[in-house]
């Protein structure tokens, strides 16, 4: 007799709890597994988890509601999400999306009647060098073309299980076009810990200190200082967390680093553990990079087998450390370290109050080092090759190199590594960004550069960047970019503080008003005023930076907005009387001139 769906869910949840555990911090991981298996998180699973994990139902539902990849109602057997970054749109993702929804007979985000498929949008999936990209049940498909879309539609209609889809659909290229010291050396750096064990934790930290390595996530905090504070914070436990939640639109370098050098990244985490005295580490991997999971698990298993993880590492009594991978589920804000920790603990990714900083009170309120993937890769190599090697390039304040994710209107999108201090012009020359009218540095939250600024240099003292480098060619309309960013931030604000939660929605509406040709000069001032408030009064970096793009367009590309203003209007009310009649027109079935207040 076939099992009822309730029994299947029951068995599945029980299996999850048995294999991974009941601890509340596993909640998000269990929810992701259930979503993957059932295309939603059924109410019965919520009840079971609540009882078994001692977590309230409302907290579980709140989690499902918060993360974009979790759903209370069923998505299709195939859940297809189009990456909706501006670079995807520049590569005609909208036409491909329309093609797919037409072929499959679905509307955006509405699961087809037979439950077969859902097509939706998602924030940048980290494939800017090979877009347009989609996720199918979480797995990346890149370099979408009309032919590939047709093929995917055929596979969906035929009900071919995902594991039997042609493997070439899932190929992800690394596209490294310029390797500097870090990438070149990675090829010859040993994954073991011999050098570290020979040096000892004290000397190793000294080496890191001498390198003046600063965090590669963008904020640029001195890595050795972070590790030292963590080590010196009194506690019975400490944690190492690798932030692989690379969510900033246009960045994808961590994806490449995780694909090529996982051993060295884990090595970096392990020596951090050795220095600060941590026994447990987490790699927080964004859900969009699920395709990397099998390989990462395999590398971890290898390291355990070789005694590089586990108990008494390298034969050193008391050096115990292991690494667990936690997946994200579609929330940009989780790239912020304290939101990431909340998410690691199985909650909504809401930024914590600071102080205390995670380095003093982080995961489970214990001292925690959170560093970017690239930082751990650099640290692993600094211990191996010495601080002198690392300081061989860069500037005094920004030692070493930076790995950039270059995308947009360039001949050769991909990974470029440069010494800090390299001017933007040099990058544009190398990648073939001819005639660029703007470069968006460090993602949607970064800075929009105009051509006179292209001589500025990539460095903490001039242009700090987490690595995203999006080029907008001479024929692009920057309005498309700013609309895309405004939508992105309104979608990704966690909602905790007023200026970010409401401000981003207000900005989005104003940007749309400008785009529709209905705004007046007053609205532009309004955008500036709201943006200023968000920058000054928001609770965390997301709100503080999410109006940057609007301010940059106002300051550096004023024509983008100016030429769309309603002629001769000092003030246009937000209330649109004609639009308000739309409901009446729909009811009466009229759309003639007499049913409008103004000519269309």
């Amino acid at each position: 007799m076939p099992l009822s769906s309730h029994e299947i869910i029951n068995r599945m949840v029980t299996g999850l709890l048995t294999s991974r555990g009941h601890a509340p911090e596993l909640l998000l991981q269990h929810l992701i597994a259930i979503q993957q298996a059932c295309s939603h998180v059924p109410e019965s699973a919520v009840d079971l988890l609540s009882q078994a994990m001692g977590v309230t139902r409302s907290r579980i539902r709140a989690c499902i509601d918060f993360y974009a990849f979790l759903h209370a109602r069923p998505r299709g057997d195939y859940d297809i999400l189009f990456s909706d970054n501006i670079t995807d749109r520049m590569a005609e993702s909208e036409a491909l999306r329309d093609q797919l929804t037409t072929r499959l007979g679905v509307r955006l985000d509405q699961t087809r009647g037979d439950g077969r498929v859902t097509v939706g949008l998602t924030s940048c999936t980290g494939m800017g060098d090979q877009g347009p990209a989609i996720l199918v049940n979480g797995l990346a498909v890149t370099a979408l073309t009309a032919a590939r879309v047709d093929r995917i539609a055929d596979l969906v209609e035929a009900g071919v299980p995902l594991e039997h889809w042609p493997p070439e659909l899932f190929i992800v290229q690394d596209n490294i076009h310029r390797a500097g010291d870090l990438l070149r050396n990675a090829e010859r750096t040993r994954p073991d810990l011999e050098r570290f064990l020979a040096l000892g934790p004290q000397a190793a930290l000294g080496e890191l200190e001498a390198s003046v390595l600063r965090g590669r996530g963008g904020a640029g905090f001195t890595t050795a200082l972070k590790w030292r504070i963590c080590r010196d914070s009194p506690s019975d436990a400490r944690f190492v967390v690798c932030n692989a939640d690379e969510g900033e639109p246009g960045t994808f370098k961590d994806r490449v680093l995780l694909a090529r050098y996982p051993d060295l990244i884990f090595k970096g985490m392990t020596l951090c553990a050795g220095i600060i005295g941590a026994r447990k580490g987490y790699l927080y991997l964004r859900g969009e990079y699920r395709h990397l999971l099998p390989r990462l698990h395999w590398v971890l298993a290898q390291r355990r087998e070789r005694g590089l993880l586990g108990r008494d590492i390298g034969g050193q009594a008391g050096f115990h450390f292991d690494i667990e991978i936690h997946l994200g589920a579609g929330a940009y804000v989780c790239g912020e370290e304290s939101a990431l920790i909340e998410s690691l603990e199985g909650r909504r990714g809401v930024v914590r109050k600071r102080p205390p900083y995670p380095v003093v009170s982080g995961y489970q309120d214990k001292p925690t080092v959170v560093n970017n993937v690239e930082t751990f890769l650099a640290a692993a190599q600094i211990i191996e090759w010495g601080s002198h090697w690392f300081r061989g390039e860069g500037t005094p304040q920004s030692t070493g190199s930076k790995i950039l994710s270059v995308s947009g209107d360039v001949a050769r999108p991909g990974i470029y590594e440069y010494p800090f201090g390299t001017p933007v012009t040099r990058v544009l020359e190398d990648c073939g960004g001819t005639g660029a009218q703007a470069v968006q540095v460090s993602g949607a939250a970064g800075v929009t550069l105009s051509p006179p600024e292209f001589s500025r240099t990539l460095s903490f003292e001039d242009l700090p960047t987490a690595g995203s480098f999006m080029v907008l060619g001479p024929d692009r309309d920057l309005m498309d970019m700013t609309r895309n960013f405004a939508r992105f931030f309104a979608h990704e604000s966690c909602g905790f503080c007023t200026p970010c939660r409401v401000g981003n929605r207000l900005l989005e509406a104003l940007v749309e008003k400008v785009a529709a040709g209905k705004a007046s000069a007053y609205d532009l001032e309004e955008m500036r005023r709201i943006g200023d408030l968000m920058r000054q009064a928001s609770y965390c970096g997301l709100g503080m930076t999410s109006a940057n793009h609007v301010r940059d367009i106002l300051d550096k590309f004023p024509a983008t907005f100016q030429r769309r203003l309603r002629p001769g209007s000092d003030f246009t009310p937000a209330f649109d009387l004609d639009a308000a009649l739309a409901a009446a027109r729909a009811i009466t079935g009229r759309n003639d001139a007499g049913a409008h207040l103004e000519e269309a």
Partner: protein
């Protein structure tokens, strides 16, 4: 030595010397000294939250929330200045338009902290266009009603239920502008939850979202908490519970 220690443990708020104890925030010290900094999500009984941003003050050129910023010796803190009040007004206007606030028709009018702080900062109109969200009203509980239209997501009820009542009746769900207050019960209704009129969570709501039934007009309009004196002199709704209902 003693004298210098005393001097070291004070900061200046709009020019006024405010003493503080180690571990206090700017808000704690200001409230203890009888200096008013407008706020909504703060309640001295509960851990600071820092979400509403109404209590922002300027310290060293930056705006910080005074409820979370640690007091430190020698700080120059600006609060009641035209630019900071303007920032607060904008934040309040944001709160007004994202929900459905109908002051003249609201049972809480005159005794509402959102309204009183708006008056205090000189807010005359919501300014932005209203979002008009569709939100529910939950009247399932025998003693209390929740009107989600007026919830400002301050999480005071969430924190009071969790930290003071030990009940976890409330939680925040969703994300961004879709964030919303939810109730822990099989049906999601207040009437099926562990909520009781005697809970602290029933008495901390600064707005008209969590209201006792059958007491809405016990105090006539004109004689309510903030009808005669401004909030800077009267203090919070929660601190006045029982003195001037509703």
């Amino acid at each position: 030595m003693n004298l210098s220690t005393t001097m070291a443990n004070s900061f200046r708020l709009d020019g006024r010397e405010i003493p503080f104890q180690p571990g206090q925030t700017i808000m704690d010290a200001a409230l203890a000294a009888g200096a008013y900094i407008p706020h909504l999500c703060h309640n001295p009984e509960l851990a600071p939250h820092g979400s509403c941003r109404v209590c922002v003050v300027r310290v060293g050129g930056r705006l910080v929330s005074s409820c979370t910023a640690p007091a430190a010796a020698g700080l120059e803190v600006a609060s009641d200045t035209p630019d900071i009040q303007a920032s607060r007004r904008t934040i309040l206007q944001m709160l007004f338009v994202e929900g459905n606030h109908i002051c003249p028709a609201c049972e809480k009018t005159g005794a509402c902290q959102l309204q009183a702080v708006a008056y205090y900062t000189g807010m005359l109109a919501p300014h932005f266009s209203h979002f008009f969200p569709r939100r529910d009203l939950d009247a399932s509980h025998p003693d209390y009603v929740i009107d989600f239209n007026r919830c400002i997501l301050c999480e005071l009820c969430v924190r009071a239920s969790r930290d003071l009542d030990g009940k976890n009746v409330f939680a925040i769900s969703g994300r961004g502008i879709d964030s919303r207050l939810v109730i822990e019960s099989p049906t999601g209704k207040l009437g099926d939850s562990a909520f009781a009129a005697t809970d602290r969570a029933a008495h901390v709501c600064p707005v008209g979202a969590i209201l006792p039934k059958r007491g809405a007009y016990a105090v006539p309009i004109g004689q309510r908490l903030y009808d005669r004196e401004p909030i800077s002199q009267v203090g919070d709704v929660a601190a006045n519970e029982g003195r001037a209902r509703p």
